[in-house]
Amino acid sequence: MSADGRTTCRINIEDFEGPLDLLLFLIRRDELDVTTINVAEVADQYLEYIRETEELNLDIAGEYLVMAATLTRMKSRLLLPVERALMEDSEDPMQSLMRHLVLYKAFKEVALELRDSESVWREVFTPPGERDRYEEEIVEFDPGQTSLMDLLLALENMTEKNAPPPQHRVRKPLLSLSECVHTLNTLLPTGSTMGFSTAVGEHPDNAVVVSFFVAVLELVKRGWLSTEQSYPFSDIIMKRKEKRWEMNA
């Protein structure tokens, strides 16, 4: 399709941040001004590129295909005078696309400027602060600055804290709750009782204890398990109440 026999294979779909980015690339490559381009021409370029990429059996994200469909529709409208006339009341979708491109282009450029700032400020290091020297117990409080996320991350942290430092930080509890529930389900027939320490086995690591404890809390909360403790730090005695545990209920 391209007049000068230029192949689009040289450009890789993965280099783009989406259909708008690809469109901007095609426009810039042809040294066109975003505001005055011929949509039909750019649409052709775009469609050709998507077609070639598809032929190479490369995965194309849905957004690219949606844009291809939109461009095709715009093109077909251009060829139909009746539709053009009808469209005069509503805004021309091409104008709208152009405005969107201008806006996206501006953000893209800002992102590049932010990248430059990042490069400079990455090289700047702050003193660690001297809180420790002056305050043993800091009360930190500022409503609105803490979110549910912090609470969740704190929980996550608890399950990870006692594990050996992993090479890659894995964002996952060490023992899944469903595994714990499954184990408890097997260990505890309906109506039976068992000590928590028996359930977790001899010499469990802290992560196992935490995972089981959290599972027990959840089961208690659901009224499927009751617990008793005769005195602080004594073993927690668990008693199964419900017959069936349906965690996904």
């Binding site: 941040e17 989406g18 400020w121 001297e130």
Partner: protein, 196 residues
């Protein structure tokens, strides 16, 4: 040779964990705004004339003392393996949209970028560069996101007005939110087709 007020302020700017505002400096040292600002200038001058490795940075609405960026290649070694990677283009674009548009919903970010921005937003939340600020009172009550003071520090900005091209972006964004969202729904082919 620094005077007593400047010494006190210098100590604050070194010991603090977050930038200290001028008003906080005044509060802690008992001096006036103008004296505080002049003292900060004396600190800067004295650090420069001694050839020191640290500088006063104006960040996120306040001041703090940081190491000179030209020594980053040395200091960075201390934190080898712990330094964050650079932000991806997707994250930077997402951050840019949120910064200018804030508070912004995810749908608005995705409308402007034209692509799913889920993983970029997740990265930004995890790195404390954006934060959930509330909910939009529209159907679905989507969450609203804004930038944090960490964001300002990360890019060496003293406040949001110092974002690059603020004027230009403000004008572009006068395209109302509705406009952007409508464009997005047109792009995703969901427009109510009036021509049929």
């Amino acid at each position: 040779m620094l005077d007593q007020l400047a010494r006190q302020i210098e100590a604050l700017l070194v010991a603090t964990e977050t930038p200290v505002t001028i008003s906080r400096i005044c509060e802690l040292t008992g001096c006036g705004t103008e004296s505080a600002e002049q003292a900060v200038e004396r600190i800067e001058a004295e650090l420069a004339s001694g050839g020191h490795a640290i500088v006063v940075a104006k960040l996120a609405g306040g001041y703090r003392i940081v190491t000179d960026p030209d020594l980053g290649f040395i200091v960075g070694q201390l934190f080898e393996g712990r330094r964050h990677s650079r932000l991806s283009r997707a994250s930077l674009e997402t951050l840019a949209v949120i910064a200018y548009r804030q508070p912004a919903t995810r749908a608005q970010v995705e409308a402007v970028r034209g692509v799913n921005s889920d993983s970029a937003m997740r990265t930004l939340l995890e790195r404390d560069l954006i934060i959930i600020t509330g909910r939009q009172e529209t159907p679905g009550r989507p969450l609203l996101y804004g930038t944090t003071s960490r964001f300002l520090e990360y890019f060496g900005l003293s406040n949001l007005e110092h974002l690059p091209r603020m004027d230009e972006m403000e004008n572009l964004l006068k395209l109302s939110v509705d406009d952007i969202e409508r464009m997005a729904s047109e792009l995703s082919g969901e427009e109510s087709d009036q021509s049929i």
